[in-house]
């Protein structure tokens, strides 16, 4: 077919005849590619002002060839230029920002309503979501905390020992885990586990019209779905962060115990560097991370488009936005706490 197409069609294209007859009396069947070739020939001849006649072809074949030849092909899609791409990107980002502002407003309104009438919050949902985002995440968060505490102690110990200050590692571990790494690790785990789950759940509900169904019931999806998820995350994340911090410090001690440091001395060293305010600071950070990750996950889920890839895209967006927000807000809060002298 390829050889026939190139040979016949190209020959006709180079010198389109005024009148052409294709003898089809001996043709018993014709397939789609054959019809397309006949239509192409007919089109080329018609463009040159000539006519094509199919001799002895069944009426149906002639009709289909005419139909294909007469169908106006839309102009091929032009590749999108760089400037156009930038423009689309800017418009997309602006729309996204608008949606985000709208979402934040809706969350604020629903939060106020929830504060005024705590009975309107779906506490049963909060509980079951808290079990999933909190309890189910204890093991992985603790494991990561322990390993990271262990690694930091292991990596820093030789340097400190060079100056004869091996016991200072206890202080380093205490400060790093309590003020920084405990909440941060928990925040990242939350973004990966729950942020994506929230986006996928709400995204699937968007695709299957469940969100529309809520709206036409007169039920606000933000009050119904977003607020319980945010509440659940904000209750469980500071607790998870505490676990993670504790296990991280324990991981550090696992290394220091090898150097012969006693448990009592380790605790004393950590206590000398860490106060209640430091612990509170870590928990406040964890709460803020929870708010941002749950918000980003739910917003991304509610903005899910159509098509088979949409839910996956939403989940990806939720994780990326969650991790970026956790680290950004960690920096901002670290700076604020520094200014406040905490």
């Amino acid at each position: 077919m390829a050889a026939l197409w190139d040979g016949v069609v190209e020959t006709i294209r180079q010198a389109p005849p005024r009148q052409a007859v294709i003898d089809m009396t001996k043709v018993s069947r014709v397939d789609g590619a054959g019809l397309a070739m006949l239509a192409e020939i007919s089109r080329i001849i018609a463009a040159g002002g000539g006519t094509l006649r199919l001799e002895g072809a069944p009426a149906e074949a002639g009709r289909i060839v005419d139909q294909i030849a007469a169908s106006a092909l839309p102009p091929a899609r032009q590749p999108v230029g760089a400037i156009e791409q930038i423009g689309c990107g800017v418009i997309g980002a602006a729309n996204h920002l608008g949606d985000l502002v709208e979402f934040t407003g809706a969350v604020a309104i629903s939060s106020r309503a929830a504060l005024r009438a705590p009975g309107s919050v779906r506490w049963r949902d909060v509980l079951s979501i808290a079990a999933r985002t909190g309890f189910d995440a204890v093991a992985v968060t603790c494991l990561l905390g322990f390993i990271i505490g262990f690694i930091i102690a292991f990596q820093t110990l030789p340097s400190f020992q060079t100056y004869g200050a091996g016991n200072m590692v206890a202080v380093v571990i205490g400060v790093a885990m309590v003020r920084e790494l405990g909440p941060l690790i928990t925040g990242v785990v939350l973004a990966g586990r729950s942020g994506s789950a929230f986006a996928a759940e709400l995204g699937t509900m968007t695709v299957t019209n469940e969100i529309d169904a809520l709206r036409t019931f007169g039920l606000d999806p933000v009050r119904f779905l977003v607020i319980p998820r945010m509440l659940a995350a904000m209750v469980t994340t500071p607790l998870l962060s505490l676990f993670c911090t504790f296990l991280g410090v324990l991981g550090g001690y696992a290394v220091l115990a090898g150097t012969g440091m006693s448990g009592a001395y380790f605790v004393q060293e950590v206590q000398s560097a860490i106060g209640v305010m430091d612990l509170l600071q870590g928990m406040v950070k964890a709460g803020v991370f929870a708010l941002l990750v749950a918000g980003a996950g739910c917003a991304s889920g509610l903005q899910t488009g159509a098509g088979p890839g949409a839910v996956g895209e939403s989940a990806t967006r939720a994780v990326v936005a969650g991790i970026v927000l956790v680290i950004l807000s960690d920096g901002v809060m670290g700076w604020l706490f520094f200014l406040m002298g905490i």
């Binding site: 699937t204 509900m205 299957t208 019209n209 469940e210 529309d212 169904a213 709206r215 036409t216 019931f217 007169g218 039920l219």
Partner: protein
């Protein structure tokens, strides 16, 4: 009061993203009737429905739904109106994490002062009406597509809404299940007096249930006929209407 209009469209335009899909819509739905919105694929039937169930604002003209002008209504008025309409989506759109019973009970929990046992009793009664008593404790994923649609109708009628909107209720159902579903709509209509607005293009279904119908046309971007199905088939001379009601192709001779 059997013939007063519960939905009225005057020179209405519907669409989304700034593009009108249908314009110049003039028809009304009478209280207590089964009104079918019909037309070929992509003609804008679902856009009319999304406008009527308040998910899309009308793009022009006037759309009155149970005394509320949809273009001018405030958020609170729209919310109040939403409690007076029931909607069954094509996919059923049941909440996947809740059992059929919990799905039907949800609107009762949110909008009534009934005690929990009373809510459960009402929800069970609604499921019994659609023939799903035995499956009340199953999750939507554990029942067939036809049963999901039945449960969705029960949920749509949970608050005894005077108007129920059904989007393609028999699409994807086998002929027997489809006929049973039509029977269900007819019996709910006569039993509860609910006004039904049904979006469908399934002719057998239209013939069984429709009191009156409107046919939309994609090329002319408007409604091309309004009336009882039999009346339209016998009296309407519009070629598109005849093609639709007699299952004829529009390509070839009848092309306008």
């Amino acid at each position: 009061m059997a013939t007063d209009a519960i939905i009225t469209l005057k020179d209405a335009a519907v669409g989304y993203g700034g593009e009108p899909v249908l314009t110049g819509l003039n028809f009304s739905v009478r209280r207590g009737e089964i009104f079918v919105v019909a037309g070929g694929s992509g003609c804008g039937k679902s856009t009319i429905m999304r406008t009527l169930i308040t998910l899309l604002p009308p793009m022009g003209g006037q759309v009155m739904l149970d005394g509320v002008d949809l273009a001018r209504a405030t958020g609170d008025e729209i919310n109040a109106l939403r409690r007076r309409i029931g909607v069954m989506y094509q996919s059923g759109a049941l909440f996947g994490g809740l059992t059929l019973l919990e799905n039907v009970r949800l609107p009762l929990e949110e909008f009534t002062a009934l005690s929990t046992p009373a809510q459960t009793a009402v929800a069970r009664a609604k499921l019994a009406v659609v023939g799903l008593s035995a499956d009340a404790e199953k999750l939507p994923s554990e029942v067939s597509g036809g049963m999901q649609k039945r449960a969705a109708v029960a949920r749509a009628l949970a608050l005894d809404a005077p108007i129920a909107f059904l989007d393609e209720p028999t699409a994807g159902l086998d002929p027997v299940t489809s006929a049973e579903f039509d029977e269900l709509i007819l019996s709910l209509n006569s039993l509860l007096g609910t006004t039904f607005v049904v979006v469908t293009h399934e002719l057998p279904s239209i013939e069984r249930i429709a009191t009156r119908m409107v046919i939309c046309d994609r090329r002319r971007k408007t409604a091309v006929a309004i009336g009882a199905p039999r009346e339209l088939r016998e009296q309407c001379t519009d070629p598109e209407v005849q093609a639709f009601l007699n299952r004829r192709s529009m390509s070839g001779a009848g092309q306008s």
